[in-house]
């Protein structure tokens, strides 16, 4: 379970987000430029909140310092979240299977031998109906193929929370429909907690177990310091 109650931002931009996400797909609906990506980055630990706190699986992973509360910032590396971006953001110099292998979280549960990791990555690609892409050239994958590999990489880390940043917006209609099915199946099979941000109402209709409307962020007036 994920619980978010923060004000976050970059520069003088501020966005407020307060919601709880449980097992299934929580869709955060907001127009472009509302600060959705910032909210996801804050959950992932790439950005620190200005105020409030975030809990993942009942552990406080981020908390802004106040008179009562101490500052808490668990590094991205230790938060057990995974991220899928708008366009795959795969490593272009590694083939798809190596990309998925790199998604396997370093640490105690990571298979010790590379052959095991490769086998695990291949199973994940297979579950995304993408095993035929294992050794393809990453740079030449289509948008939909990239997102399948990217999803496999995200799942490989066995995350507590899966964050998806408009994962279908760069795809054509057919790939979008097929990938939505894949995502639904994966989330159900693995009983994942997924947070998907989108401005596409079709995503909401097709996938949302819960909908959160994000109030668009604002720029602070430049009066004094914040």
């Amino acid at each position: 379970m994920l619980s978010v109650d923060v004000v976050t931002g970059r520069g003088s931009f501020r966005v407020t987000a307060a919601f709880t996400a449980t097992r299934g797909i929580t869709v955060i609906r907001a127009p472009s430029g509302a600060g959705k990506t910032l909210v996801l980055h804050t959950i992932a630990g790439l950005v620190r909140p200005h105020s409030g706190r975030i809990e993942i699986a009942s552990v406080v992973v981020a908390q802004a310092a106040t008179q009562r509360d101490a500052l808490i910032h668990i590094k991205s590396q230790d938060r057990k979240v995974a991220m899928v971006f708008q366009d795959g953001v795969l490593l272009p110099h590694r083939n798809p299977i190596a990309n998925v292998e790199l998604g396997i979280r370093p640490g105690s549960i990571r298979p010790k031998y590379k052959t095991e990791r490769t086998a695990q990555a291949l199973r994940l690609l297979d579950s995304m109906e993408a095993s035929h892409l294992a050794n393809a050239s990453t740079k030449h994958l289509s948008g939909g193929e990239q997102q399948r590999v990217s999803l496999a990489r995200a799942i490989a880390g066995n995350p507590d929370v899966l964050l998806l940043d408009e994962p279908f917006s760069a795809l054509d209609h057919d790939s979008r429909v097929r990938l939505r099915h894949t995502l639904r199946r994966i989330v159900d099979e693995r009983r994942l907690t997924a947070v998907l941000v989108t401005h596409d109402s079709e995503d909401v209709d097709a996938l949302a177990d819960r909908v959160v409307d994000l109030e668009p962020g604002r720029y602070l007036e430049k009066v004094g310091r914040t």
Binding site: L46, S76, Q77, D78, M83, L90, L91, R105, P106
Partner: protein, 228 residues
């Protein structure tokens, strides 16, 4: 101080050795500095940046003068070195390596820094979120994706190290067979009217520079945008 140029082979091999070592040292230091400057958010970053860029804009003789002040036999560093090793630091091939390294460093740093800043931050974020340490992210993502720019910086640094005259003359001197590098040998050859040696030395340096610039162009023109 005009020493005769007996043959170009000694200066040539000395230059090659000095440049090779200087390029390796400047590459390691330069990429490290570039990484910190590109990624670090710390007070005094622009001052560090200005200092490491200085060798580009300072007259090489002025750079050499300050290096001599810093490392000379009467300086604390020079004396410490002498006590430890029994020999002076300046007016040795080692000093030529130092001069070449310092001259090459800013070129490596500038190219490497631009290349590192150009790497898609989301690629790095994806690996960070997947649990890879900062070192792992640098090794798996940043440096491989920046490799063309790093290569260009190293090539430029090599050319600059090979071509250094002013700083080398100031702290390593012009001792034939010991610290007389190829650019200095060309100067000597001109001064003593050995036009064949001057012509050949100049030709070697010119062709190396052209080859290096061709490499740099090839690395930077195809590399940009490839990973977008």
């Amino acid at each position: 101080m005009i020493a005769a140029v007996a043959s170009l082979s000694e200066p040539f091999w000395l230059s090659l050795r000095v440049t090779a070592i200087a390029t390796v040292v400047a590459s390691v230091l330069g990429i490290g500095f570039a990484y910190v400057l590109a990624k670090g958010r710390f007070r005094g970053r622009s001052l560090v940046e200005a200092i490491v860029t200085l060798p580009i804009v300072l007259p090489p003789t002025v750079l050499g003068y300050y290096l001599l002040t810093l490392l000379g036999v009467r300086s604390p560093i020079g004396q410490a070195f002498q006590r430890l090793t029994g020999s002076a630091l300046v007016f040795t091939p080692r000093a030529a390596v130092i001069a070449a390294t310092i001259s090459a460093l800013p070129y490596v740093i500038r190219a490497a820094r631009a290349a590192i800043e150009n790497v898609d931050e989301r690629c790095e974020a994806a690996m960070r979120v997947a649990g890879h340490s900062e070192f792992g992210v640098a090794r798996l993502v940043t440096l491989p994706l920046a490799k063309r720019g790093l290569g260009a910086g190293i090539a430029l640094g090599f050319a600059r190290a090979l071509g250094d005259f002013g700083a080398t003359v100031m702290i390593a001197g012009n001792i034939p067979g010991k610290t007389q590098t190829l650019p200095i040998a060309v100067y000597d050859a001109v001064q003593s009217g050995e036009s064949a040696a001057a012509r050949n030395g100049a030709l070697i340096l010119l062709s190396t520079a052209v080859v290096v610039l061709l490499i740099v162009t090839a690395l930077t023109s195809r590399g940009n945008g490839e990973h977008a």
